[in-house]
């Protein structure tokens, strides 16, 4: 029995699943991280991912290209991000409550639009999702090929974006402007940076990533949309940002670690299944997220202006 449990780790299928499960989380975590680095907590992520999943899928269902679907999802995410930014940055409303409102709004809107477009029927309609890409040489490697290099394009995109965002934040003037706005917007303003514009930009860009994360589920991982498909992944992304200490490379690592637990739990249930109710296995990822928060809270170097609205003339 123990061998069977450990043996799961040796299957290429597990690791392929890890990358697949991690991909939407990478998009979502990067998106949330970008928002928070500029000082804005975006709790709309769960709803934005839901809407992104729906609208991306719907675009492809109507015959358009998969990449266009992904782009539409990003655009939709950006639109919700703009709403969130307007309410919290321009108007200075509570970031907590606004985010929750946007989650409820975007999620309900996604169901409404879906039901309008697709009448209720027996099983939900499907599309042809992204197919795994064959990389010359890499995909043919013995174990690693099947494990790591048999993924769809958006997965590789997620990894590439991690590197890109990491570089931008750490090495470019734009990244520095975002960081200083998140640490002390008054300091940013004193340097001639417009903290309002920076925050709005970061939130819009981050929300676009969130939308793409949702679309990954309907365009790559699965091939249909159903209303409760996000299942708390958005909240997991929020915890992963803390776990990653707001650093993109650690966000990637955190997403992979989480995905490992999730993928493992799925397969473990098949091995151990009769003895333990399947719900216990499904709980494991959520419990892990909470534990991750615990661990990370000790050493968290929070962006100091996170969640503080910036108002001019209030010095």
């Amino acid at each position: 029995m123990i061998w069977d449990c450990l043996g799961i780790l040796a299957t290429a299928g597990l690791w392929a699943a890890v990358l697949r499960i991690a991909s939407p989380l990478i998009f979502g975590t990067l998106g949330a991280l970008l928002c928070e680095r500029s000082g804005v907590l975006n709790l709309g992520i769960e709803g934005i991912m839901s809407f992104g999943a729906m609208v991306g899928w719907l675009t492809v269902y109507h015959g358009f290209d998969l990449w266009l679907g992904l782009a539409v999802a990003a655009f939709a995410g950006a639109a919700f991000g703009l709403l969130h930014a307007f309410l919290t940055v321009s108007l200075g409303l509570s970031q907590h409550v606004t985010g929750l409102g946007i989650t409820l709004f975007a999620a309900s809107l996604s169901i409404f639009a879906f039901r309008l477009a697709i009448p209720v029927s027996g099983s939900p309609p499907t599309i042809v999702p992204f197919q795994p890409i064959h990389l010359p040489f890499l995909s043919d490697l013995a174990f690693l090929g099947a494990a790591l290099f048999n993924q769809t394009a958006p997965t590789y995109l997620a990894v590439a974006l991690t590197a890109l965002i990491g570089y931008v934040l750490a090495r470019t003037p734009l990244g520095l402007a975002i960081r200083i706005t998140g640490e002390n917007p008054h300091a940013a303003e004193a340097q001639g940076i417009n903290p309002i514009q920076v925050r709005i930009g970061a939130v819009v860009a981050g929300s676009a990533l969130m939308g793409m994360g949702g679309a990954f589920l309907t365009l790559s991982a699965f091939n249909s949309f159903f209303p409760t498909m996000i299942q708390g992944r958005g909240w997991v992304c929020i915890t992963l940002v803390v776990f990653a200490s707001w650093r993109p490379e650690r966000a990637l690592a955190g997403a992979l670690l989480y995905a490992l637990f999730d993928a493992y739990q799925l397969r473990l249930a098949q091995v151990v299944g009769k003895m333990v109710p399947y719900q216990i296995f499904l709980m494991i990822p959520y419990v892990m997220s909470i534990l991750a928060l615990l661990v990370a809270s000790r050493r968290a170097r929070v962006p100091q202006a996170l969640m503080q609205p910036y108002r001019r003339e209030e010095r």
Binding site: T172, L176, E183
Partner: protein, 502 residues
């Protein structure tokens, strides 16, 4: 002399308050101009308008002959204006280099050019004597070092007009002297400088010209050589405000005795082996530059942190530690150092703020239910006895001005005839009229036999009110000296850590 900066007809209102009223002034090339005025006179608002943090209602700013678009710090920076803020505009989690270079390069650049910045900063640091480690995290730096970063930020941007807002508030006397020497060397190297201060000795010594603001208006312009401290003081306040005089009186028994106490509240400088005592009818003044342990001392005596070592004796009995409620119950009145963040809850009514720390007393609650009428009466008593204007027992306390709020906070403690009063920075941020009122209440308490521990950064407070003085430096207390022996030189030395047995 050429005029490098001209401020014309600036007016700014915040709600009902007129912060700047038709202000016009000039700054000349290479000059050190002092902007003098008491708290609330409009100095900081004017400088914020100059730098673009605040948009004026009317008027304009002209720098080097070009009118500046209002409300844009970027335009001010481009025109050569730099500002050293009173509360440093720095991001603690970023490095010195990052703080200085943020916003200096185009946001579309793919690569931040650090090497050019490093070269320029090293050269500037040498030229002006502002050495600081470029890769250090700003949050780890001392206050003096952070100020150097603030100044380097401006110099890096090729500032030609430098604004400094209360630059010496956080420096000791010796450090201030060095500081003004640096400013003077900048002026000879081509900068023009404006500094805000309310410290008359410094203004008299270090400026070329003084402009006095009062109630938002320019009321006078003088050269230091042609005026006196007394004249400037009177111009600042507008009338001869006599602060109440302290008369000598015999002191009573020891109420509070602290022996070799250690305390370490989170995120503040800790106290090491501090000893002091307070007698009835006497004021013990603890003087020191901000950030030397005053907060820990205030928290210790308000019941917010516990002593880690040493012995505390209160009213003759050993007291292991104080709690906020136990302070109130045993007759210790407390005035916290920040009225907005510890003193009063803005959105609560005056009566609620009055009653909050003693709501479990029989007078104000019964069986868990709040008794509102005694609470309203208590608030009304405080309002009338302590001349609190602008509010009623039911109005929200945030509507009061700073001075009135402070009178209320002091009053709620004194109205219950405590035996001991712990007052931390009671006159911070107040205008002259409010300061005089607070002084009067404190002295009245002293006459009534209350023992008072006064913690203050303001030398005037200490010299005018205290009977005995101790200096607090890096969490340690000097031995006490009678105030008659506390001349500025001696105090300056004590505040720098120099005393017998140090």
């Amino acid at each position: 002399m050429t005029v490098v900066l001209r401020v014309e007809g600036i007016t700014k209102r915040f709600g009902g308050l007129v912060a700047n009223d038709d202000v016009t002034l000039d700054l000349h090339q290479g000059e050190l101009l002092a902007l003098l005025g008491e708290n609330g006179a409009g100095k900081t608002t004017l400088m914020n308008i100059l730098f673009g943090h605040v948009v004026p209602d009317t008027g304009r700013v002209v720098a080097f002959g070009q009118a500046l678009p209002p409300g844009k710090p970027r335009a001010a920076i481009a025109a050569g204006i730099g500002m050293v803020h009173q509360h440093f505009a720095l991001a603690a989690n970023l490095t010195v280099l990052e703080n200085i270079t943020a916003g200096t390069q185009s946001l579309t650049r793919w690569r931040a050019d650090a090497s050019r910045a490093r070269r320029k900063l090293t050269e500037l640091a040498q030229r002006f004597g502002l050495i600081v480690a470029l890769d250090a995290r700003v949050g780890d730096l001392s206050v003096g070092e952070r100020q150097r970063v603030e100044i380097l930020k401006a110099l890096y941007r090729d500032t030609r007009i430098l604004i400094l807002d209360e630059p010496t508030a956080v420096l000791t006397y010796q450090e201030s002297q060095q500081f003004y020497a640096i400013l003077r060397s900048m002026a000879t190297k081509g900068l023009s400088l404006i500094f805000i201060s309310h410290r008359l000795p410094e203004v008299m010594e270090s400026s070329d010209r003084v402009i006095v603001l009062r109630g938002g208006r320019v009321v006078a312009e003088r050269r230091p050589a042609e005026t006196s401290r007394d004249e400037l003081a009177e111009l600042m306040v507008g009338r001869r405000v006599a602060r109440p005089r302290r008369e000598s009186q015999p002191s009573g028994p020891v109420l509070l005795d602290a022996e070799e106490i250690d305390a370490a509240p989170k995120r503040h400088m800790k106290l090491t082996a501090v000893s002091f005592h307070v007698r009835a009818g006497e004021i013990l003044g603890i003087v020191g530059v901000s950030g030397n342990g005053q907060t820990a001392l205030a928290q210790l005596l308000s019941g917010q942190c516990a002593p880690l070592a040493g012995r505390l004796t209160l009213f003759g009995a050993h007291c292991p530690r104080l709690w906020p409620r136990s302070c109130v119950a045993s007759g210790i009145g407390r005035v916290p150092e920040d009225r907005n963040n510890g003193g009063a809850i803005g959105e609560m009514a005056l009566w609620e703020n009055a009653v909050l720390e003693r709501v479990r007393e029989r007078r104000f609650s019964i069986a868990g239910l709040v008794r509102k009428r005694p609470g309203l009466a208590f608030a009304a008593e405080i309002i009338s006895r302590f001349d609190v204007r602008g509010g009623t027992p039911t109005s929200e306390i945030r509507l009061l001005s700073g001075g009135n709020m402070q009178k209320f906070i002091v009053g709620r403690s004194l109205a219950t005839a405590p035996r001991l009063l712990v007052a931390a920075q009671p006159t911070r941020g107040l205008d002259e009229g409010a300061v005089a009122a607070i002084h009067e209440h404190i002295l009245a308490a002293r006459r009534a036999g209350i023992g008072i521990l006064l913690i203050s950064e303001d030398l005037d407070d200490i010299l005018q009110l205290a009977d005995r003085v101790q200096a607090i430096v890096a969490g340690r207390l000097s031995p006490d000296i009678p105030v008659t022996a506390a001349d500025p030189r001696r105090l300056g030395l004590m505040m720098a850590g120099v005393w017998d047995g140090a």
